[in-house]
Each structure stands twice: as C-alpha cells, then as structure tokens.
C-alpha cells in the first residue's frame, strides 16, 4: 500500500468520517482512496471548490465535534493557512496532511521538505502552533495518521502531517491499528444545538486587548504542555557518537542508510530523527551538544530545521548542513560522502 493510501485508511480507522479536499499532485491518491472508502464506511467524501473551501469544511465538521481531515500539497497548503489560524484561535481539532512538493510557487511535484518553516512556525497569521508529525515510512505514515486525530482532539489544535512525495507514493507493507469509535468522547465545546443547556460559541474574535492577550496566554500554556508531553523521536548509535546526524522524514530515511555504512566503516556516527517537528526534541539536542563534537543536518530544503538544531545546540557543538532543493533527492552514497567530509573536517 502507498503512504498516501495508508494515511487515508488509518484516518478511517481512527474514526475520521469526513474528508474534504481538492485535487493536487502528489497527494491525490489519498483523496481518491477516501472517495472510494468513506461512502462505504458511513462517511462523507466531498471534493471542494478550492483548498480554502476544503479546510473551512473541516472547520465546520470539527465545530460539531466530528473527526475531519483534509490533505493537499504545498501551494494548496498555503491557501489553507487562513482557516488553520482560525482553527488554532478557535481551538478546533482537525488533521491536515501536506505531501510537500518542490517550491517556491508552482515549483514541481518532486519530493521536498521545504515547507518545514510553514508547518512548524505557524504558517498563518498570529501566535499559534500546529502540532507537526513527520513520518519516514509507510508504516509510520499510517501510525501517525491514526495518532494525529487523538492528539488533535486532546489539545483542540490542528495537527499537520508533513511528508514528501517519497513517503506518499512509496509502496510498503503496513499493519493497521484496529478501528475504533471516538464519537463517544464527550466534547463539552462542540456545537450540537443548545438542547437543555446554555448556547455555545466558537470564536477567535476577542476585541479587547486584555481578553485577547489572556486567550493568547492560554494558547501558549497549551503549547508548553505539548512541548513537555508530546515530543517524539528515534535515535540510533548515540551512545558513543562523535557526529550526530539530525534528519526527519524522507531525508532521515535516506541518510539512515549512509549512517549504517559509516558505522560499518568504523565512524562513530549517530542519528537523531525527530518524529514530531513541533514539538521539537530541543532538549535531546541540548544534552547531546554537551558531549558530541558536531551535528550535521540533512534536509530536502535550503536548510530550515537546521535553525532549530542550532538554537538547541546553543553554540556548544558545531552544526553542519547538507540539503538538496527543488525536488532533487540525494543518494545514500552522496550523504555518506558528506558525512565522512564532516567527520574528518
């Protein structure tokens, strides 16, 4: 099964019954899978008139407490930013998949991870954060898609799954979690008609400065809790590593082969793979920076996550970078050479 289909199937199993999307390569397989499956499994698939409309339909479904999802690729994700900011402000859950493509602009449809800043730093207007998950295999794409709905609901915050076309298009075996019925979870904020209770309001508008600042403080406290509780990452060979490679998603998948080669040849190289990009494993890097000589960040971009690694390393260890842009993907051999150069340099 492809990563795109795996994310779609996992979403259904996580109890998502509402999908709203707009066609864009390289993620249309996700929508097509749900167009086939959702009507058979008691759900609604709707092809919207735009990415803007699609995310606002997710907003609407979420208002009622339903689990809802949209997916797109980079230019389409840019269009969704307004409503994502509204969802963060209104504290509405919702899952957004970004199968990132080469940019800027129309760019191309080749694998890229250059939407890191957009996903991790907010993307839309105002002080808010998305929770961002970055799978590096089809299995993990399925697992994170399933998890995304829980986290999103728990924190009442949009969750974005960020991956490149490699993950979405790659076909690998997948084991799925069992289906469940999340609708039994009580949502004391959802709009369901004010039957026998006071009316509820979902809004982000707070005209008085004091009230809006207070709301922002509440959001920041929530993000602090997310940072404390939801950091996920994978490590390899960190015990005696002198050089630590930091990479996520597709970059991590490729560079992990190079790390294995380096270990076989006796280089003390380790790997840290953030699975959550927000919250970022800052504390892990900060601790490693006390004892390792260097970090090297591999990305499918001009270098975006590298800034977060630099902040975490806080000048205590050197931070190097190697990236490919515009949809170009390095080979493991190419990554290996860069690792050796950095190790020796």
């Amino acid at each position: 099964m492809s990563g795109a289909e795996a994310m779609a199937e996992a979403a259904i199993r996580a109890g998502c019954r509402f999908y709203f999307g707009y066609p864009i390569t390289p993620q249309s397989e996700l929508a097509e899978y749900l167009a086939r499956e959702l009507p058979k499994r008691g759900g609604v698939f709707l092809q919207a008139e735009s990415e803007i409309a699609a995310i606002n339909m997710v907003f609407g479904a979420s208002v009622t407490g339903a689990r809802a999802m949209t997916s797109s690729s980079s230019p389409g994700i840019s269009l969704k930013q307004e409503a994502i900011s509204y969802m963060a402000g209104c504290e509405l859950p919702g899952v957004i998949v970004n199968v990132c493509r080469g940019g800027p602009g129309l760019g191309n449809i080749a694998p890229s991870e250059a939407d890191y800043f957009q996903a991790v730093k907010g993307g839309g207007h105002g002080d808010y954060r998305n929770i961002v998950l970055a799978p590096s295999s089809v299995q993990e794409a399925a697992d994170l898609s399933y998890l995304a709905f829980d986290i999103s609901e728990k924190y009442r915050n949009p969750v974005m799954i960020l991956c490149s076309a490699v993950i979405a298009q790659m076909v690998e075996p997948v084991e799925f979690m069992s289906p469940r019925r999340p609708e039994e979870v009580e949502k004391p904020w959802a709009l369901t008609g004010a039957k026998g209770r006071e009316p509820r309001v979902i809004k982000s508008l707070r005209l008085s400065e004091q009230e809006l600042e207070e709301h922002n403080r509440h959001l920041q406290e929530k993000y602090a809790t997310v940072k404390a509780k939801e950091v996920r990452y994978e490590t390899r060979y960190l015990e005696d590593a002198e050089l630590v490679i930091v990479a996520f998603g597709t970059s991590a998948r490729i560079v992990s082969t190079a790390v294995e080669t380096a270990r076989e040849k006796g280089y003390k190289v380790g790997l840290l793979r953030p699975i959550t990009l927000f919250p970022f494993p800052t504390h892990v890097i900060r601790k490693l920076a006390e004892r390792v000589k260097k970090f090297m960040v591999f990305e499918l971009s001009a270098g975006q996550m590298v800034e977060d690694v630099e902040i975490a390393a806080a000048g205590k260890a050197a931070v190097n970078f190697y990236g490919r842009m515009g949809g170009s993907v390095p080979s493991p051999e190419e990554d290996f050479e860069k690792i050796v150069d950095c190790y020796r340099g």
Binding site: F18, V44, E49, A53, N56, P199, V201, I202
Partner: protein
C-alpha cells in the same frame, strides 16, 4: 392582560452594537422569530460572518460559530454534512457573500447543500467604514469610490438571481425590511426558507435589502427611502424560485 409582543426565545437580552437606523437588528429579530415559530432553537447552529454581523453570537440565544470572511457556506457545509439532523444557517453580508466568498456560496448552492442562507445586502462594507461593495450602486459614493462607483468598479451584483439560476437551491427570494409590511413579508419568507431545509429540499436563500444610514451618509428615514427609490427597482423583491411552485410568487 394578554402579552402580544415579547423578545423571541432565540434572542438574548442585550444591547446591540448596530448603528442607529441599521436594518441588521430587524433581520436578526426576524431570524430569531422564525426559529421560535418553527421550534428549532435547540437544534440550530448559526454560522456568523465577518462583517457587521460578526457579533451575532452576542444576540442569538443558540449555538453560533465564527467563520473566516466569505467562508460561511463552506463551514455550514462541513457542519451539515457531519450532522444532517441539525438546522444550520449562515448569516452573511454583501462583502462576505458577493466578493470574497463568491466561490463558496455558488459552489454550495450548486451542490444544493441543505442549509439556509440569510444574506443582508446594504450595498456597502459597513464594519470597515463604508467602502465599496460588489452590490454598491453605480454612481454611489463610498470611502473607496469617492467620485461615485463606475461601471469598471463592477456592476452591482444581483446575487438572488444568480443563485436562482442554479438547479441546487430549493428556494430563493429577495425581500426588504424598509416598511412594516415588508418586514412581515420578509419574516414569512425566512420561515418558508427555513422550512425548506427542515424538509430536506436543499439550499434556501433569502436576500434582504437593508439600510445602512451611516455608510450611506443619510438619516435613518432617508436611508429607508433610498431602499424604496433606488434599491428595490434594481434589486426587485419576490420569490425567484421555489420547488413548491404553488408557494412561489
């Protein structure tokens, strides 16, 4: 003594922020009365717009959600698709529906989404201080058409006719609230539109011509006269479409 006039249950006891002579208060009350008469308050979700009616949740005594500017039809689609058992309506102004949100309203109408739309057309952006709207009349002075609106600023859009040209909607009407008689007709129309949704007929759409004295630079009385003299001839009143043909006209 018999009580003959009271606040609808669907309205909160609060002071509205609307300017003197603004029609929004009347339209809000009509909507609340219709919800009371149909006894659907406890299953209603309202989608409020960005614009003068942004504070609708302060006035309506029922579940209300905010929506990004122009997107209420998409938000309402999401709500209604997720919970077809709820009664859902959007309340939108002319900037919201006829400019930034054209794609959303036309697409939702074309799909025949089963929610209702109350569209308040006062030919101006009121909330932002009286700028030109897509429904501003030719020659009308606004803060962004200080010399009068020209044809190439955009001819005033007749939304009700446009929506009525689609097969999706069940009921399309245009009303005004400039006289007591028109208020009564508008109320009847809104009730009829809401009933269409309750019967699962597909989108029902009521455009209501409204006065904006402050945005027009007129007194409240002059503004009501303008609705009669300038707006109604260009934006004719009536039921433009009804799947129940015997109820049309």
């Amino acid at each position: 003594m018999k009580l003959v006039f009271d606040r609808p249950k669907s309205m909160k006891d609060t002071v509205m922020h609307y300017c003197p002579g603004c029609s929004h208060g009347v339209v809000t009350r009509i909507v609340a009365e219709a919800i009371d008469i149909l006894d659907i308050r406890e299953k209603t979700v309202c989608v409020a717009p960005v614009g003068c009616a942004v504070f609708l949740y302060e006035y309506l005594n029922l579940d209300v959600t905010e929506s990004p500017h122009g997107r209420p039809p998409a938000v309402a689609t999401g709500i209604k698709r997720a919970r077809p058992d709820l009664f859902v309506f959007t309340y939108q102004g002319d900037g919201d529906i006829a400019a930034i949100g054209l794609a959303e309203i036309l697409s939702a109408a074309n799909r025949g989404e089963n929610f209702s739309v109350v569209y308040v057309n006062n030919t101006v952006y009121g909330m932002t201080g009286g700028q030109m709207a897509p429904t501003t009349m030719l020659g009308q002075r606004t803060t962004t058409t200080p010399y009068g609106k020209g044809a190439m600023d955009g001819r005033p859009l007749r939304m009700a006719e446009w929506i009525a040209s689609l097969d999706g909607p069940s009921y399309v009407a245009r009303m005004a609230v400039n006289t007591p008689a028109n208020v009564k007709k508008a109320r009847k129309t809104v009730i009829e539109a809401f009933r269409m949704q309750l019967e699962g007929r597909g989108m029902s759409f009521v455009e209501i011509l409204a006065a904006c004295p402050v945005g027009w630079g007129l007194s409240p009385i002059e503004a009501l006269a303008r609705v009669e003299k300038e707006l109604i001839p260009y934006y004719p009143l009536g039921v433009l479409k009804s799947v129940d043909s015997h109820k049309a006209g």
